[in-house]
């Protein structure tokens, strides 16, 4: 081909691929690389050094943090598996009344802001919690919620929906013939479960477990609120960032790199284990549900509904406290709307900011989700493979890391003209982009490429074909992706805490600060506002998503 022909062929999607690569390179790769490099910089001299890592791996302060992070993340994941797997098995293999209710509650638990769970448990089991006080009347002392076991409890109840929903999907998609064959070959029901069913759902369980583990490692709000001297890597990184303010945040970065390395190791390990286990098969013989009888049926229902109710408890408590009569931070008995009055008086900025930031980010997310998913699904080039890989990165990199990257890369640089608000919007956009892309990709995979080819063949230029044929067809995926992006953006805490300034406070930050100040009424009211936004979006996702459960994973 001649050069001229090449130029004529440099069409829309090639240009878009370059645009995407530039945006991701500038907003994702550059800040992360800047952060990673900081880990190897000596804060005093500015020279290159391995000293930061040596410090992390030799000083007890950091080693304990590492140990603590691993401890709560592993136990939290284990706890989530222990309740998630049986729940999935019961709902997938037996008739459980109120099944839609159970999965709806599980999804609400999944999308509720993570730090709400932590402080709600303080209100129940903290030193002045109502459960604590209730038992104190009888002279009984309840176990304290503060410390490692409290964090593990919150992680377990917060993350089990991942295990539950993924395992359930996998169980529902498993051919009944496998279990029938096992039975036919002489397995007892228990043997059948342990030797056939469990190994077959292992990929789903392990994927769910990895998500739990990665989120637990990166979680900042829960250990920050419940830790009380029990420090994890995420709280250490944040504290280091705060104390290094003004200087180079080298220790905060080094600790974050260790966190990322743990997440990535876990992911690689799981990939390795899964590589030899691919159990895809056409669902020719869908599983049927059995009915459990007598006391076992009662016990099963008690377990299933009990789990989701306990997991929902923090949310209910938060809503409940928001309606308690308060005088300043003190509850004075009875019900009232003072807390709501106060948020309107003191925190309208936070509410308005949250909506502006999240909505602006969602506009960007939706636009780029459409383009990126098209490039990944339809274009078979090295660049599209690279973009596909980059979409994993925001999942793995803790919010603290990207936020520090944004501060060190863009503060004071030419991009600073867009201000902190602009940076927060770009940060939300890049961190939540994968939700939009994933949802849009699954929509696009169901659209045959011949649709776009037909449009082009009939004379529509590729860009036009995309907007008048492809976009209307992937609209449900785009909408679900936008909603997921909105839910996760408006609940963002850890990176906002690092970036925000006086004029750019958001609801999660305000809640976090209120909890630290003991202003539970204020925190409750703001949390309720957040929960309502989230709940409305969840309802909308139910309306638009083809498979309502898997849309949230």
């Amino acid at each position: 081909m001649t050069l001229l022909a090449h130029l004529r062929r440099l069409e829309f999607w090639t240009a878009i691929t370059w645009l995407i690569l530039m945006v991701l390179g500038f907003l994702l790769i550059l800040p992360i690389l800047r952060v990673l490099m900081l880990g190897f910089v000596d804060a005093e001299t500015g020279g290159l050094t391995l000293g930061n890592f040596i410090e992390v791996f030799t000083r007890n302060y950091y080693l304990n943090g590492l140990k603590n992070s691993l401890f709560v993340a592993l136990l939290g994941t284990l706890g989530a598996c222990l309740i998630g797997i049986p729940l999935a098995f019961f709902t997938a293999r037996f008739v459980v009344s109120g099944q839609a209710w159970i999965s709806t509650l599980a999804i609400l638990v999944l999308v509720a802001p993570p730090f709400i769970g932590a402080y709600a448990w303080i209100m129940m089991l903290g030193s002045n919690g109502f459960i604590t006080n209730f038992f104190a009347i009888f002279g009984l002392s309840t176990p304290t919620i503060y410390g490692a076991h409290g964090i593990v409890l919150v992680f377990t109840l917060k993350f089990f929906p991942f295990i539950y929903l993924m395992t359930q999907t996998s169980l529902n998609g498993m051919n009944k013939s496998f279990e029938d064959a096992a039975e036919n070959l002489g397995c007892t029901p228990w043997q059948r479960f342990t030797k056939i069913t469990l190994p077959l759902v292992f990929p789903a369980v392990s994927t769910g477990a990895i998500i739990c583990f990665v989120l637990a490692i990166a979680d900042f709000g829960t250990p920050a609120i419940l830790g009380r001297g029990f420090r994890t890597l995420s709280t250490i990184a944040f504290a280091a960032y705060r104390s290094e303010l003004g200087g180079l945040p080298t220790m905060a970065v080094t600790v974050s790199i260790v966190m990322m390395a743990m997440s990535m190791l876990a992911l690689l390990l799981q990939r390795r284990i899964l590589a030899k286990r691919r159990y895809a098969s056409a669902l020719t013989n869908p599983p049927r549900k059995k009915r459990m009888r007598d006391f076992r049926n009662v016990a099963m229902h008690f377990f299933c509904h009990g789990i989701v109710l306990i997991a929902m408890l923090p949310t209910l408590v938060v809503v409940y406290t928001s309606f308690l009569k308060t005088n300043g931070p003190v509850f004075i008995g009875g019900f009232g709307l003072e807390s709501y009055e106060r948020i309107l008086r003191t925190a309208p900025d936070a509410i308005i900011n949250s909506f502006i930031f999240a909505l602006s980010a969602v506009v960007l997310i939706t636009l780029f989700s459409g383009l990126i998913s098209y490039v990944i699904v339809r274009r078979d080039t090295a660049a599209s493979g690279g973009i596909d890989f980059l979409m994993m990165v925001p999942y793995l990199v803790p919010g603290v890391v990207i936020a520090i990257g944004y501060v060190t890369t863009f503060r004071g640089g030419p991009l600073d003209v867009i201000g902190t608000a602009g940076l927060l919007i770009l940060l939300y956009f890049i961190r939540r982009l994968p939700y939009g892309v994933r949802s849009t990709m699954s929509s696009l995979r169901q659209i045959k490429p011949s649709m776009e080819e037909a449009a082009v063949n009939l004379g529509a230029a590729p860009a036009r074909a995309f907007f008048i044929v492809t976009v209307p067809l992937i609209l449900p995926g785009l909408i679900v992706g936008a909603l997921m992006g909105f839910i996760t953006a408006i609940n963002e805490l850890s990176s906002t805490l690092i970036l925000y300034d006086g004029g750019t406070i958001t609801m999660p930050v305000q809640i976090y600060l209120a909890v630290l100040d003991g202003e539970f009424g204020l925190a409750g009211a703001l949390s309720t506002v957040l929960l309502i936004c989230t709940g409305v979006c969840v309802y909308a996702v139910f309306r638009f998503a083809e498979n309502r459960d898997s849309a949230f994973l």
Partner: protein, 360 residues
């Protein structure tokens, strides 16, 4: 109406040669079929003409104008897709009007032409339906209407009937051919179904391994296959070993001398169509001039309109014959001795390789 000229077209996927220097010429108004097994390059060729694949080398010209470097949306070749590709979010009417709108045709003309073409494909009464309310056959009529309404220079069809059930396939086949003739539109048609290819085409182009094996009218493809691949792929064939010696060539089975029938001295095989082979029971005798081979019955299957006879020659080769049912043959037990008879003019000879050229 337009002629198509393709010269030296080459397409590589990595190291795999998907199209190997394809050169062909399609006269204006012809129904030209690309036939071959899956992976032979026929769909790649069609999609390269449509502009969905970029060629590595070669020229594609319509009426003498090069189009190989034009983007797909400016090629003016309309395509009918295997999976219909009817836009699910547009009504039948809007689907058909789609290409006209891209061409900025004015509204009254769009209306008239859509109505006209819907009548041609007998869908006038369904204009306001949505695609999911239509059957597969109706959807493919929409696909056809949408393509021909823009009056393209060339119509491309990518196995348009293969997703339909057998009965509908035969009906729609005749209808497609009628519409194509009425409009006189140059058509390139891809199929792996040889019956479809033979029934519909002016010219059948048999492809294999990215190479054109033979391009000729259907009757020539069947009666005078250019090489052993075409002889194997189109219709059925028996291949027998030929023994070459200094003095001539003889069939190993039966020993008939075939020296006079061939004009090459490389290793060759002899081919015979099952329908040309006669299997004679003990009571029957061969006609004058027929070559005979003694054999034994392996299996006879009676399938209604005809019977299929599988025999093994005394030297161990297998021959299949197809003929009208004959109770005397159907009743023969396994291993019964029979005589295979065939007229020498029904024999073809090919060089002994999978795509060996014809040598008779």
């Amino acid at each position: 109406m337009a002629s198509v000229e393709i010269i030296g077209l080459r397409k590589l996927y990595g190291n795999v040669m998907a199209l190997s220097d394809i050169t062909l010429s399609i006269p204006s108004g012809a129904f030209y079929t690309l036939l071959g097994p899956s992976g032979c390059g026929k769909t790649t060729l069609l999609r390269t003409i449509a502009g969905f694949h970029a060629q590595n080398a070669g020229k594609i010209a319509i009426d003498g104008t090069s189009i190989e470097d034009l983007p797909a949306h400016r090629r003016d070749v309309a395509m009918v897709f295997q999976d219909y590709a009817v836009f699910p979010h547009l009504s039948v009417r809007d689907n058909v009007a789609f290409g006209l709108k891209q061409r900025k045709v004015n509204r009254t003309e769009i209306e008239n032409r859509v109505k006209e073409v819907l009548d041609v494909v007998q869908l006038g009464h369904l204009a306001d339906r949505m695609p999911h309310e239509l059957s597969g056959g109706q959807q493919q009529r929409v696909g056809l209407a949408r393509a021909i309404v823009v009056r393209p220079k060339v119509l491309l069809m990518d196995e348009p009937l293969s997703n339909l059930d057998a009965k509908l396939r035969v009906d729609l086949r005749a209808e497609l051919r009628r519409i194509q003739r009425d409009l006189g539109i140059t058509t390139i048609y891809v199929t792996h179904d040889q019956e479809e290819a033979l029934a519909m085409s002016d010219i059948v182009c048999v492809m294999h391994g990215g190479i054109i094996q033979q391009a000729a009218p259907p009757i020539d493809i069947y009666l005078r296959p250019a090489n052993r691949f075409v002889a194997t792929f189109v219709g059925a064939n028996n291949f027998l070993v030929v023994n070459r010696t200094a003095s001539g060539a003889k069939l190993v089975s039966g020993g008939a001398d075939v020296t006079g029938l061939i004009h090459d001295d490389a290793p060759i095989v002899c081919a015979m169509r099952p329908e040309d082979v006669r299997v004679l029971g003990p009571a029957a005798s061969p006609l004058d001039g027929e070559i005979t081979i003694s054999a034994r019955i392996r299996e006879v299957s009676f399938i209604g309109r005809e019977m299929e006879i599988f025999v093994e020659t005394d030297s161990g080769e297998h021959i299949k014959a197809v003929s009208r049912p004959d109770p005397a043959i159907v009743g023969l037990a396994e291993n019964s001795p029979v005589t295979v008879a065939i007229r020498p003019k029904d024999l073809s000879f090919f060089l002994d390789s999978s795509d060996g050229a014809r040598v008779s």
